[in-house]
């Protein structure tokens, strides 16, 4: 038996025993310390113990299979999953925690010719890659604050899709603060939409005012109700802060009953100078994990999928977001980048995420720059020892795992580790053990802070003695 050539075997400490997790073999199983020591001897020390039980034999055979190759090789052709269009960085709301600089962004709108050039490029790529769909995602600011740009890109996309034998597929992330006419346009022409709503009026308006002293809840709720009449995938995004974390289960239940979305997405507040000034803080990671996990279960009982995106267990990935997946996101000024954050944010992390530019009627993309971004997204030293390496994949490259960031876990890591372990246990049908984790302060502390989950580190691990 040869040693494992990579870190794809992780031992996660639980109140009773351990969770063996091989994300790139899509395998998770609960084991005791003795069983893990056997695996350590086989896969790390290179021993050949005899007399294994049939169950251990089967597990060893499965773990001896090569893991899924998740990172594209250096010469893999550029393959953008979608085109992102930031129609404007301006926004018609004044959210207290906005991390996109919308309040300080100029009211610059993408020229219609830039949108057309980008759509034409993506249609050409989709045809070259023998895709079935032409995928275009709209971001902001608030993308529908520049409705003529959206309309142009949608109508151009539909024409180009038909000419190229593709099906058009449009998605948008939006604040939902606009007229019924705008909502109906989205309903008629879009396939999926993410609307931000942080709870009932008091908490939503505290987080997401239209202007100082003026709430946005009523109009946003009307928009969501209206979108719900159309045939599109409706996702509601909830930003969680200290203001709403304790009532997360009730909020998710209420959202589910009121709007019947396809998905509810829970994300924690990313601190900004604006959020600090407004007195808004991210939730405590343990409190978020406890309430978040209960909220996810509550939604499941209503037949609705709720997720914390860093703890999604749909399969292994090497990057959390569009960055590193060859995505092209075009800004109002014609810059093409892998990230939708403003350039100054990634520049201050010494990251170069620019991969091209719209020049007149053409979008020029530098495939070498795309491969460089792939490498940056796949190489995250903080994540090397963490069992969430291939599922959370390090979160945001700019804000969580930028090159040179501290290797110690931060609160994002802690809540992600707790929620990921509980998601795995739930998926294995072991909800009782997940409950055991989330009601045991010591177990949560051990799991959240465990510095090295790799099997090769197993003999030095504490925990899992129960």
């Amino acid at each position: 038996m040869s040693k494992l050539p990579d870190s794809d075997l992780f031992a996660v400490p639980l109140p009773k025993g351990f969770l063996l997790f091989s994300p790139r073999r899509r395998l998770a199983v609960r084991l005791n310390r003795q069983a893990l020591m056997v695996l350590f001897r086989i896969f790390v020390a290179g021993d050949h113990p005899s007399g294994l039980s049939p169950e251990m034999d089967a597990l060893v055979a499965e773990l001896s299979q090569p893991p899924e190759q998740v990172i594209p090789s250096a010469n893999t052709a550029v393959s953008p999953p979608f085109l992102g269009l930031i129609t404007t960085r301006a926004c018609n709301l004044a959210c207290a925690y906005c991390a996109f600089g919308s309040r300080t962004s100029p009211d610059e709108r993408m020229p219609l010719a830039t949108a057309v050039a980008a759509v034409d490029w993506m249609a050409h790529q989709a045809r070259r890659l023998a895709r079935e769909t032409l995928d275009i995602h709209f971001f902001g600011g608030e993308p529908f604050a520049a409705p003529e740009v959206v309309d142009t890109a949608v109508l151009r996309g539909r024409i180009m899709a038909e000419q190229s034998g593709l099906r058009p597929h449009f998605e948008a992330s939006t604040n939902g603060y606009y007229t019924a006419d705008q909502a109906d346009f989205i309903g008629a022409y879009f396939h999926a939409v993410v609307v931000s709503i942080d709870g009932p009026a008091p908490v939503h308006d505290r987080h997401r005012p239209a202007a100082p002293g003026k709430g946005s809840f009523d109009r946003v709720a009307e928009t969501i109700q209206r979108l719900g009449r159309w045939e599109l995938k409706l996702c509601l995004r909830v930003c969680v802060s200290t203001e709403n974390v304790a009532s997360l289960e009730e909020i998710v239940s209420w959202l589910g009953h009121t709007f019947r979305p396809s998905v509810i997405n829970l994300e924690t507040l990313q601190p900004t100078p604006e959020s600090v000034a407004a007195g808004l803080r991210p939730p405590d990671p343990v409190e978020f994990a406890v309430h978040g996990h209960r909220a996810i279960r509550r939604a499941r009982s209503q037949g609705i999928k709720a997720v914390y995106s860093a703890a999604e267990m749909d399969g292994p990935r090497y990057t959390f977001c569009p960055v590193g997946r060859d995505t092209i996101i075009v800004s109002p000024d014609g810059q093409a980048a892998s990230c939708y954050l403003p350039r100054w944010e990634w520049k201050q992390r010494d990251l170069t995420l620019e991969v091209g530019r719209v020049d007149g009627a053409n979008l020029h993309v530098d495939s070498r720059a795309i491969r460089r971004v792939r490498r940056a997204a796949a190489h995250k030293p903080r994540c090397r020892r963490c069992f969430c390496r291939w599922t959370c994949a390090g979160g945001c490259l700019v804000n969580q795992t930028w090159p040179g960031c501290p290797h110690a876990y931060d609160d994002f890591c802690r809540q992600t580790r707790l929620l990921s372990a509980c998601a795995l246990l739930d998926a294995m049908g072991d909800s009782a053990e997940a409950d055991g984790v989330l009601t045991d302060a010591r177990a949560m502390a051990v799991l959240a802070e465990h510095a090295d989950d790799r099997l090769e580190n197993f003999p030095t691990m504490a925990g899992g003695h129960g």
Binding site: L112, P147, L155, R156, E162, P168, D181, Y189
Partner: protein
């Protein structure tokens, strides 16, 4: 879609009350509820259909239509005029003249 008419007045195009429509990959499907007739509007005419449902002024419609279809201003204008005339005659859309201030007040 609206366009200026006599001073203080605007012309507004909108779906007839008996018309229903749906978007599909190849254009727009329009149903005339008064006759039950089903009609497919292909691209690029489907872009015109989309834009007349919007509360845009004539100039804005022309800019979007020209950009989306790749037609120059004259060709885009011709396409728009032809569609409006044809669909009005077919009873799928109707043209009304309104007081400009009233139109603004109603968004």
């Amino acid at each position: 879609m609206v366009e200026p008419a006599a001073p203080g007045r605007i012309i507004q195009y909108e779906c007839a009350s008996t018309t229903t429509w749906a978007v599909d990959d190849r254009g727009v499907i329009v149903v005339d509820g008064s006759t039950g007739a089903i009609r497919r509007i292909p691209h690029p005419e489907a872009a015109v259909w989309a834009l007349i449902q919007r509360p845009y002024a004539w100039g804005r419609v022309m800019n979007i239509l020209s950009a989306a279809t790749g037609l120059d201003g004259a060709a885009a204008s011709s396409l728009l005029q032809r569609c409006l005339a044809e669909w009005t005659a077919a009873g799928l859309i109707r043209m009304t003249t309104k007081d400009a201030l009233e139109s603004i007040a109603h968004g």
